[in-house]
Assembly symmetry: C2
Homo-oligomer: 98 residues x 2
DNA sequence: ATAAATATATTGGGCATACGATATTAAACC
DNA sequence: GGTTTAATATCGTATGCCCAATATATTTAT
């Protein structure tokens, strides 16, 4: 069950490339709480070290983008995630439709 | 993003009460990998200490069941989980239907 | 009664997630 | 040019997840 943050970051980056602060805002919007710098940057670093994201400095910002390897990994992770958690979502949708 | 295992355990126990080994088997079936003792029992202990599950000794087994407080907490957690991860599942379902 | 099997539980170590504090760099402003 | 601001990054610390190893208690088998 570990690696959910990295998984989520990878998914966000698959929609569009972003810098760290934009990523924080996206996470804040979706999760309700904004991750701090000490959460996000080590995660990005680890993703980069594993070759799943690329980074490119642009002025004072660093644009992170998903790599080919990252897309492959994301697809595998999505498949796994959905097989494990899909039922919980189905249940919840059903129960809220009554 | 932490607490996914406890969340999952709570959800499993909301379907039916189980002992630790049955829980391990359910997790193995759904996740693909069987959690070891050092994973499952500390999680159950913490859930119990927070009043989310009850435990009852039956011979050599300990039956764990969800409490009222646990059901309330699970409902909140499900709502949150689905709002955060729902889109990933929707995306995946769409992309696999083509 | 003894041995084997089942189930629970803890310990120690490693990695992931999380925060707040601090430092560094680059752009923007005056 | 010097100050402020924005963005990146690291550090220390705490907690959750994860395994392998170990220990304990209870049931089952011989």
């Amino acid at each position: 069950m570990r690696g959910m943050l990295s998984f989520y970051i990878l998914w966000l980056l698959s929609n569009r490339s972003m810098n760290g602060q934009e990523l924080c805002k996206e996470l804040a919007r979706r999760r309700g709480s904004k991750p701090s710098a000490g959460t996000i940057y080590p995660a990005l670093r680890s993703l980069r070290e594993n070759g799943l994201v690329n980074m490119e400095r642009q002025g004072r910002a660093t644009i992170y983008s998903i790599s080919e390897k990252g897309r492959d990994e994301l697809e595998r992770a999505c498949k796994y995630f959905c097989s494990v958690f899909g039922e919980i979502l189905q249940d919840h949708i059903k129960s809220t439709h009554k």
